[in-house]
Symmetry: none
Subunit: 530 residues, 2 copies
């Protein structure tokens, strides 16, 4: 704990399963949510907002399931709202469902902007204060820890500060453990956030506050930081910044920012080391693309492309790296591109030949071969599988595991699904396999046929899968005769790597990338490991 001395503790309230699921393209099944609740334990004792019981049958089922499976509800929060206008808490279906959920912590939102009270609730300002006071009080009496989300607090504070503060006062007096100040529309500037938090601190300190902001101005992380600096102790957000419109405050960014750059303790050091794989796990679970440019946790976050930067990095990491990537479970990547120099290639070669010297003629050979291929449209920064395959070939450590004797495909593009058929004939050792396979389009047919033909010889191929297929037209000025570059990403377990093909025929480029993907999988996991 020595390193944490004097650091302020910040708690995390994770709303990925609720507010995050409002994001376009984000979906969690009940099973996904169970996996989530199980896996998030490795991050330590965060609050997990698991849904809104009563809002839809899926959320009801999930809380039911948590109870049935005896999953500890200590840090599971149920989300909902105050009771309705002219309703008493005892008769509020919303509140009764929250109590029945079994969650120990209950978070309810109430209006803190007079505009909303008038135009959305269509009631008077006093009635809204009653809703807040009585709802919080009722839940506290039922033995719950109650968090109060002051919806639109900052917009309300701008237009009617007295009323916005009164809403907070109601919740705190009624026994809310924490009041969370929300920038629900995400339009506030850091100065707005600072003013709002400071006003509440002045009035109600040392009562605890939380911050919940959206990213509509690209400032969700900065605004959360400002709030913490002004005294807030709970940050609300989602992994990868998932959420409605432009998303919520991104915990994958905010947590490392506070802990590594700021003077705060958020997670344990060992949990912080897991934040990169965990963020990726959440993206996979929700079936959303993972933003590789994300600070701290993205694949590009510590990737160096310019030759000059790489040269400096090798002299002293601090020169072009703002922190140690290992602290957040990420890694440094040296990209090989037309801007790369010998230093990049040497660093990469040393993965396979740790003792190779800068002067070794193979280094020069590798560089020339790579530059030559790059001049023909290859690009290795997103195709590390093909790059490594090339390097082990140059090092004389690769022998072809199979031979392709025939490879045909035909298509009828006006037909429906499975409109393409591929025929593949391969030779492995003395054995020959001749196989045909249908597919959605010619590339899919080629891929399926090749894997089927080889799987019995190389069972590892059944465990790997193609997860991404990218096509780039390099010189589009010759119409359909243009040069195309295909990059395919393959996943095996947690590892993902790209392979590349370049040709004026999209099928040829695809076949090249497919063959590299298969060769590299076999080399790495069957031969190369020996």
């Amino acid at each position: 704990m020595g390193r944490d001395e004097g650091k302020r503790k910040i708690t995390v309230y994770d709303t990925t399963l609720r507010d995050g699921a409002q994001g376009e393209g984000i979906h969690f099944s009940t099973q996904d949510k169970l996996s989530y609740v199980e896996r998030i334990k490795e991050m330590g004792s965060l609050y997990v907002e698991a849904g809104w019981p009563g809002a839809n049958p899926k959320d009801d089922n999930f809380f039911q399931l948590l109870k049935e499976q005896n999953i500890p509800m200590t840090h599971i929060a149920a989300f909902g709202s105050t009771c309705k206008v002219n309703e008493s808490p005892e008769n509020s279906e919303i509140l009764l469902k929250l109590v029945a959920s079994g969650a120990q912590t209950i978070t309810i939102f109430g209006k803190a902007w007079d505009l909303h009270v008038r135009d959305v609730l269509r009631t008077n300002l006093a009635e809204n204060l009653r809703l807040i006071r009585e709802s919080v009080s009722f839940l506290v009496q039922q033995g719950h820890e109650v968090f109060f989300d002051a919806e639109h607090f900052f917009d309300g504070f701008k237009e009617n500060p007295d009323y916005a503060l009164k809403c907070i006062k109601m919740a705190l007096e009624a026994g809310a453990a924490i009041s969370i100040l929300c920038d629900t529309n995400g339009g506030c500037l850091p100065a707005d956030i600072a003013r709002g938090v400071e006003a509440v601190m002045q009035e109600f300190a040392p009562r605890e506050l939380g911050i919940h902001v959206h990213n509509d101005s690209g400032l969700a992380v900065a605004n959360s930081l400002v709030a913490v600096e002004a005294g807030v102790t709970q940050i609300q957000g989602t992994w990868n910044g998932f959420g409605e419109r432009c998303g919520n405050a991104n915990l994958s960014t905010l947590i490392p920012l506070l802990q590594v750059k700021g003077n705060y303790t958020v997670l344990s050091e060992s949990a912080l080391h897991k934040i990169t794989p965990f963020s990726r796990f959440v993206a996979e679970l929700s079936n959303a693309p993972f933003d590789e440019k994300q600070p701290y946790v993205g694949r590009s976050a510590f990737a160096h492309k310019a030759g000059m930067h790489v040269d400096a990095i090798l002299k002293n990491h601090r020169t072009f790296e703002h922190m140690d990537p290992l602290d957040v479970g990420n890694e440094r990547r040296i990209l090989i591109s037309d801007q790369a120099g010998k230093a990049n290639i040497l660093e990469r070669l040393r993965r396979f030949a740790p003792d190779i010297l800068k002067e070794d003629p193979l280094v020069e050979k590798a560089m020339l071969e790579i530059k030559d291929m790059e001049n023909h449209g290859f690009q290795f920064e997103a195709a590390e599988g093909s790059l490594d395959l090339l390097l082990v070939r140059i090092l004389g450590r690769f022998s072809t595991p199979f031979e392709v004797l025939d490879y045909h495909v035909w298509s009828d593009p006006l037909r429906g699904e499975l409109d393409s058929v591929a025929v593949v004939k391969v030779k492995v050792g003395e054995q020959t396999v001749h196989i045909a396979s249908e597919g959605n389009g010619p590339v899919n047919a080629l891929d399926t046929a090749l894997r089927q033909a080889l799987a019995s010889f190389f069972p590892i191929l059944e465990k790997s899968e193609l997860v991404n297929y990218k096509v780039r037209v390099l010189d589009g000025s010759r119409g359909t005769e243009a040069i195309v570059r295909v990059i395919i990403d393959t996943r095996l377990g947690r590892e993902v790597w790209g392979t590349i093909g370049v040709s004026n025929n999209i099928l040829k480029a695809s076949a090249q990338a497919l063959l590299d993907a298969i060769n590299w999988t076999i080399w790495k996991f069957e031969g190369g490991a020996c």
Copy 2:
């Protein structure tokens, strides 16, 4: 200009083509760069950093081309560095190439962090000051407007403030028009930025300053805002935040933030209205995925999913919307007819039916059909040929000029050129033509066969040609089964228009786009003109 009164003017220095191109997966061909320089005029008078002449042949060629094509170089900047250690500016290849580029504005970077001087340049602190002073001075004497990028200024200022300030002093005394303070590693907090800018302002005001930051802490936009608030007048960044590692400050976010939320004038109001399509254009050009969650310009930025929010939005837009999406050329997406969308479609329909009224049910029908297709991955911004074809179909003014009875292709992707054969059977009136044609790849074979079959009936097809073929994978997460969008550009004389196809089969998508291209050519130049 009434609305801009009292607002501070901020200039934009756009480094998308240079620093943006350092981003993983970002590449611009020479033709792409020319299109960029042409199209960016609609944003007003930004500075465009077009490359580093001398760093690689591609950048050299590009500046050469700008000169040959007499493209005005007023706001084109060339990027480079100071001369080397122990070198005089007159003998510096770097500086001479910059001068030879023909750019009026030259931006050079120099070290402002003593660590870099010692560990990367491996020289003494005085020599680095000489490099800055003499390099700037030399370029100024050659008649250039010189911008000085103080690389790693903020990290340098933290560790050796006196030296960091001396570097700025050297550049300004030598005649640099602007000194740009850089957070090159992207690890600084807003407080670091404020401190650094304030110190420079105190020493050198009213000399002009710029800010250039990276997003490694998720704060590039916030840090740029802080710098502007502290007195900086030039913002450097890239569209969509492209750039090395986590990218540069995102101009697509920062410009609306300063202009709509802050008290600054950055672009003209009409240019600000174009920022959404322009950001998308840059992504398409670089073939990088467009982040739809981006503030202001993303498709999700003003999309309302929660039923309660939509209800409130209908009562009063301000309740859940922090600004008017139209101000940045974006649109609200909810399940009601969208006035802006309708207006655009109406305007387009009037090209073919000048008297059609807003209330005509065909307007509604066209809008619904377009929205539906967009939901399935179509995107008509770059495919106006397909859009117009759809509209004349809806207006009942299109009759199919030919019928495709059969359309087959087979390929042997391991063979050499002309490895694909397409067979096409078409019916025109009572006549049937059955033809086979070879091609480089299946798409080229399909194109050639179709044109050969139809050319005798529609001679205009021999005058038109395909000039561009772009493929975009929309949802890459299902490997080779991903959805692909193909856009083909056709030229006839001076006119160029795009057509589009979307499918999980790249050949089907290509065939769709090809058929649209041919149908539109025939309609427009043979039938439609009558």
